[in-house]
């Protein structure tokens, strides 16, 4: 077994690379990935269940900036998330009785300033921007399989 390690090392020179070249290639996330929240302003009634279930109470209720009427929400109370505290457990999404909250694949939330991590309802209502096109694909038959990240054309299948 002395040459076992050397054999392994040399074998992998001839294999395809595994690395995902991240800022240029993004991984395709599954449908239920728990990234940042999406808020549907036309569904939210401002009931406050999300704030009650939130483990770290990162949700506060604020009125909308624009004066557009939302008839289902007469008190004009919409959730505002402080992402410096949110742990992305998405219990709020699961407990929401009207389906006003949803998962999104956005995870690049880094900011230079901590105050910018406060997401207003309008900002939460924006559509997600992160689209991944690469996913891990196995090739070869059983016993000698390899894996690489390859571009897939179709959208999430699961």
């Amino acid at each position: 077994m002395i040459f076992g390690e050397a054999y392994e090392g040399i074998k992998h020179i001839f294999k395809r690379t595994f690395t995902l070249k991240y800022p240029y290639q993004r991984v395709q996330l599954p449908k239920g990935f728990r990234g940042r929240h999406i808020l549907y302003l036309d569904k939210c009634t401002g009931c406050g269940i999300c704030a009650w279930i939130c483990p770290e109470r990162c949700i506060t209720f604020v009125p909308l900036q624009d004066k557009k009427e939302h008839p289902q929400n007469p008190e004009n109370r919409f959730p505002q998330y402080w992402y410096a505290r949110c742990c992305f457990c998405h219990f709020c999404t699961d407990y929401c009785p009207t389906g006003a909250l949803d998962y999104s694949p956005d995870y690049e939330l880094a900011e230079y300033d901590r105050d910018l991590l406060l997401w207003s309802p309008e900002r939460l209502a924006r559509l997600p921007t992160n689209v991944g096109e690469y996913r891990s694909v196995f090739h070869g038959e059983k016993g000698n399989m390899g894996v690489t990240y390859e571009r897939v054309s179709e959208h999430p299948t699961n």
């Binding site: 410096a84 949110c86 939330l109 300033d113 901590r114 991590l117």
Partner: protein
Amino acid sequence: MSQETLQDFAGVWIGKMSEIVRTVTGSGPVRYLINWSRMYALWPVHITTACCSAEFGAMMGPRLDPERFGLQAVAGGLRQCDLLIVEGTVTKKMAKRLKTVYEQMAKPRYVIAMGDCACSGGLFHDSYSIVNDVHKIFPIDVYIPGCPPRPEALLSAIVKLREKIRREEVFA
């Protein structure tokens, strides 16, 4: 010449030289070169404060391979490091050590607050042994939310930090 005049002479010349250095490094191409080399030699300190280190390890792994950006985790000493990633919760017991680590690092040094706990206390913000505001210990350049953030999110923060370094003055 007497001692005093020699010192005056040297002081004037040192002042002049440093001004020349400042103007040269402040000029476009030289500043660009210096910032470019700083951008590509971000070596993180090997201190793990809490559980976000699992995702830090995943970022260092083969899937994302941050050595593409010159990010190497091999530096043993703090003097060679310029990036401090606060990986998670900072307890009061750890804060003292973290401050020591930060002070031992050579300038220019950059800090990334990784995870909710480093940003604001996160899940444990009301606990009795947690430092909620890490930015009161040292200035923080980039905040990444997430509990823990994805390794891609950490890498995107590093890309953001590189953008900041690219734009900054050499003698800030």
